[in-house]
């Protein structure tokens, strides 16, 4: 199956000032896949996303989006090439209504009619958002904000959807709901690259996973294989099934 990856990292080294944060990172995400990047605090997960978005500068290596090298391109151009993000802590525009937040997701699109239809689709997927359509973003609960952030990202019709710590700051019940949503969105055809600390949860819905440790990828395999991997069980999966390891600092 010779397909072109939507996103590909090739020997990436990235720095914060003079401190190296990523060492020779290689991975790829194929169309339709749900791939997760796992790792503890300060392992370089967020930096990886920032390098994709052009926020964090790269010293060596190449990033490809659908086969085109995009190193050093400004953020706006990366977004125009079909990258969307559900950022850590969701970052809803607080003083704008739910509807306006969704419209902003489609900021670069000019097909107004289709956008309107897709906003309706988002409302069908998350009926609570329809009820809150004219409420300010700041009035939403954490779970509702997560839905809104997801809807906003989907409205750009992304080639690849980046998710930064989707479980962060949500109650365990909402985490379950959140991962069901991610799985559903992926099943409907959106390619997803997810960064997550909650390894067992992420692997339960992902196709494949990469494990990042202090800036290097130490392991990568199918989600199933990672769930059964001895080292993963010890370091990230907290021994028993379903038990989540808290952040080791």
């Amino acid at each position: 199956m010779e397909r072109e990856p939507v996103l590909k990292f090739e020997h990436i080294d990235a720095y914060y000032g003079s401190i190296q944060v990523l060492y020779d990172i290689n991975f790829e995400v194929y169309p339709g896949e749900l791939v997760c990047l796992l790792g503890g605090n300060a392992s370089g997960k967020s930096t990886t996303l920032k390098t994709i978005l052009g926020v964090c500068k790269i010293k060596n290596g190449s990033i490809y989006l659908k086969g085109e090298r995009v190193n050093g391109k400004p953020t706006k151009e990366i977004i125009e090439r079909g990258v969307a993000i559900v950022p850590e802590n969701r970052r809803i525009f607080p003083k704008m209504t739910v509807l306006e937040n969704l419209e902003l997701g489609a900021y670069l699109r000019t097909d107004k009619e289709a956008v309107k239809r897709e906003i309706e689709n988002i409302f069908d997927l998350f009926p609570i958002l329809r009820k809150r359509a004219n409420q300010m973003g700041v009035t939403l609960s954490g779970g509702e904000q997560q839905m809104l952030a997801m809807g906003r990202a989907l409205l750009s019709r992304p080639e690849i959807l980046l998710m930064d710590e989707p479980s962060m700051g949500l109650s365990p019940m909402l985490v379950d709901q959140q991962f069901e949503i991610i799985q559903e969105v992926n099943r409907r055809g959106t390619t997803i690259f997810m960064v997550e600390q909650n390894a067992s949860m992420a692997l339960s819905i992902a196709d494949r996973g990469y494990v990042l440790q202090t800036g290097s990828i130490v392991l990568h395999d199918t989600a199933q294989a990672l769930l059964e991997n001895e080292m993963m069980k010890k370091a990230y999966l907290g021994g028993q099934d379903g038990e989540d390891e808290e952040d080791e600092i």
């Binding site: 926020v55 706006k76 977004i79 969307a84 525009f93 607080p94 704008m96 900021y107 670069l108």
Partner: protein, 310 residues
């Protein structure tokens, strides 16, 4: 008390005139602060340049203190050209004095703004001299319509023009911010600049747009005050800038409706104060309000806090 009640409607009208102008100036401060988190101390000079531009247009269209064309058209041209020139100068300051410092500490931006302020003041001083330029308003507005009686209130036509133009411009801005795509992008950028780039907003262009709008409104205010007080000099921007800034803080800096409210309230407060106190206390009242607001409600009346940027 009788005197107060008799004077009240008149002072309210006077206050609305002044307040509308303060509001126009305050909008420029508040929009720039909302996005860049900086106080643009050069904004008063943008206002001053608007005043001079208005005077210059009037001067060019006058022969022997008589305008050469329809007076309404002259006033419209004065305001529109002043807005254009001020917007242009505002964009230049952003491009050359602020944008290169976007990632520098805030204090550097502040100092740069002070530098621009002094630079523009002295540029105009060298070019125009220190003498005030006089607007020959009576060439624009004939004696017969100079005063309008509305019940207990006497209003000069100039004041009426100022009120109508300021509130028209504010209404226009409100609609633009609320309804248009650019307006939504401006609000989004003010609320979370990085997230705005993540949905594809070109933040640099939004910042330029903010300087265009803020400076144009400041320039309009400069010409309107020139019509009202019939003169302009190189130093008028200092006082007007402080008043606009006070109005912005009073309303809640960063909030556009706040700037409008703060401006109008400040203008009315000043006008009411001079009915009781000698006129020289006008500024004392204005800045006493600023200090009191900073102490008891630092976020201002509307108090729209931009969320902490990560």
């Amino acid at each position: 008390m009788d005197l107060f009640l008799k004077e009240l409607p008149q002072q309210l009208v006077n206050g609305l005139t002044l307040g509308g102008v303060y509001a126009l100036i305050a909008i420029g401060y508040t929009m720039v602060y909302g996005i860049l988190g900086m106080l643009n101390f050069a904004h008063g000079e943008i206002y001053m340049i608007g005043g001079f531009t208005g005077w210059w247009v009037l001067h060019l269209l006058s022969r022997n203190h008589h305008v050469v064309m329809n007076a309404a058209a002259v006033i419209a041209l004065m305001i529109i050209i002043a807005m254009g020139v001020s917007a242009f100068v505002g964009v230049l300051t952003e491009r050359f004095a602020y944008r290169p410092l976007r990632n520098a500490p805030r204090i550097n931006l502040l100092l740069s703004a002070l530098g621009v302020s002094i630079f523009l003041q002295n540029l105009v001083l060298n070019y125009q001299g220190a003498k005030a330029r006089v607007f020959y308003v009576h060439s624009l507005i004939p004696e017969s319509v100079r005063l309008i009686h509305l019940g207990p209130v006497v209003i000069t036509l100039t004041r009426l023009i100022v009120i109508v133009v300021t509130f028209f411009l504010m209404a226009l801005l409100s609609v633009m911010i609320k309804r248009t795509k650019a307006g939504k992008a401006m609000r989004a950028t003010a609320q979370d600049l990085e997230m705005a780039t993540f949905v594809g907003i070109d933040v640099d262009r939004i910042i330029v747009l903010v300087f265009i709008i803020g400076s144009a409104l400041g320039g309009a205010a400069g010409t309107l005050v020139g019509l009202l007080f019939t003169q302009v000099d190189y130093y008028v921007g200092f006082q007007a800038g402080l008043k606009g800034f006070t109005a912005a803080v009073l309303g809640g800096i960063g909030s556009i409706p706040g700037a409008m409210l703060g401006g109008v309230l400040l203008g009315v407060a000043e006008s009411l104060a001079v009915t009781f106190l000698p006129a020289a206390y006008k500024d004392v009242v204005a800045f006493a309000i600023l200090i009191i607001i900073l102490i008891i409600k630092p976020t201002g009346l509307v108090g729209e806090r931009v969320p902490e940027k990560v």
